[in-house]
């Protein structure tokens, strides 16, 4: 069997920035895996079976929950991290499907996650400051 020693990578390769995106992806995955079944259980089973009153999940109550100081956790767990999770999957999916890879796809994917997350956080800040 032939080995071409000259082709063997001798230089130290550049450290990937992927740990940042992968960590956000993993955190988002955990949040989605925990929150989505809980929400589905409440809405799809709890309410129809009469275990949870629909009144308890009305707009005012949910708004009060989200814009409570601790509601920032809800915004992070239900929106920001899942956004990064989804965009990471889309980014790598584009590469797998040979549709796009490289800098532009990466900027578009993670850029939109950053943009939408900033929007969510900005809305949260403005509304919670206004309400009190």
């Amino acid at each position: 069997m032939r080995t071409n020693k000259q082709d063997t990578p001798q230089t130290t390769p550049r450290r990937s920035d992927e740990p940042i995106w992968w960590s956000l992806f993993s955190a988002g995955g955990v949040c989605v895996a925990m929150l989505v079944p809980a929400i589905a259980l409440l809405v799809l089973l709890g309410i129809p079976l009469g275990l949870v009153s629909a009144e308890q999940l009305n707009y005012q109550r949910l708004q009060a929950l989200v814009f409570h100081p601790l509601g920032l956790g809800v915004v992070l767990g239900a929106m920001v991290l899942p956004l990064f999770h989804a965009m990471h999957r889309i980014h790598h999916g584009l590469h797998d499907l040979k549709l796009a890879h490289g800098r532009l796809a990466k900027w578009l994917c993670y850029g939109s996650a950053v943009l939408l997350s900033s929007l969510a956080l900005w809305l949260w800040l403005t509304v919670s400051m206004a309400s009190g």
Partner: protein
């Protein structure tokens, strides 16, 4: 004795402009392996057929081949399981040298790059390195790799980007990094930390499905992602003895 139709991909670089299929009919019984069938063809029907083999018992990792499109070891795959006949082609994702033989240089380069051997200080006074069963259990399954390359034929990422270190190389890097006797982790991490290291994997997992030795390279790669992330965080907070971007200058 029953017979079975076998379709083989042939390619003789001196004569053929492109690979083509050739049909053979072989006799077989319950114990006939794909490798036995190839030997039968070479001995009785076409002596020009080329394929790679050595041990016949799934130890050497030489006879990797695509059986109906699935990476398999010829010696560990039996004709009795393919009553409708089978189609043999050289291992996927590698350049074909001749007939069923591929050029595995790229895989061997990746293997060399991650230093798949024990990097350890000699134990004091010529004593053996001691290891508890628990320490052995941490890396044992990853040490069963026989370098057959089936996982590379299965890996869509290696197919898309041959610079990706790939399942076996990363599994072996992980195997030595987990070994309590080894102190070469720092030398291996630079390779694993790169875009072509653990981060080239999108966790398809087919490598672990096709492994003939029950190694789980996909698990090694994903444990490697955690190790690489921790390595990055530690590097970030470590007081810089040398300029931090030294390793990025190349």
């Amino acid at each position: 004795m029953p017979t079975l139709e076998m379709r083989l991909q042939r390619y003789r670089p001196e004569q053929d402009s492109a690979p083509h299929w050739q049909d053979f009919r072989v006799e077989y019984d319950d114990s006939t392996s794909v490798l036995d069938a190839l030997e039968q063809i070479k001995a009785e029907q076409d002596s020009s057929l080329s394929y790679r083999w050595s041990c016949r018992m799934a130890i050497c990792g030489s006879c990797g081949i695509m059986v109906n499109g699935v990476p398999k070891l010829g010696c560990k795959t039996f004709l009795r399981d393919y009553p409708k006949g089978l189609q043999l082609a050289p291992l996927g994702n590698f350049p074909v040298e001749k007939d069923l033989i591929v050029d595995m240089s790229r895989f061997l380069e990746h293997l060399t790059a991650i230093k798949p051997y024990l990097i350890a200080e000699a134990a004091p006074q010529g004593q053996p390195h001691r290891q508890t069963p628990a320490q052995l259990a941490r890396y044992k399954q990853f040490s069963n790799c026989i370098n057959c390359g089936l996982c590379y034929a299965a890996c869509p990422q290696f197919g898309l980007k041959p610079d990706f270190l790939g399942p076996a190389a990363i599994a072996l890097a992980h195997r030595y990094n987990l070994d309590s006797r080894d102190s070469g982790k720092a030398e291996r991490m630079a390779q694993l930390n790169s875009d072509n290291g653990v981060w080239g994997c999108t966790f398809v997992g087919y490598c672990s499905t096709v492994c003939p030795k029950g190694v789980d390279p996909a698990a090694a790669v994903n444990q490697g992602k955690i190790a690489s992330t921790l390595d990055g965080v530690i590097q970030w907070f470590k007081p810089a003895k040398e300029p931090r971007n030294k390793e990025q200058s190349k």
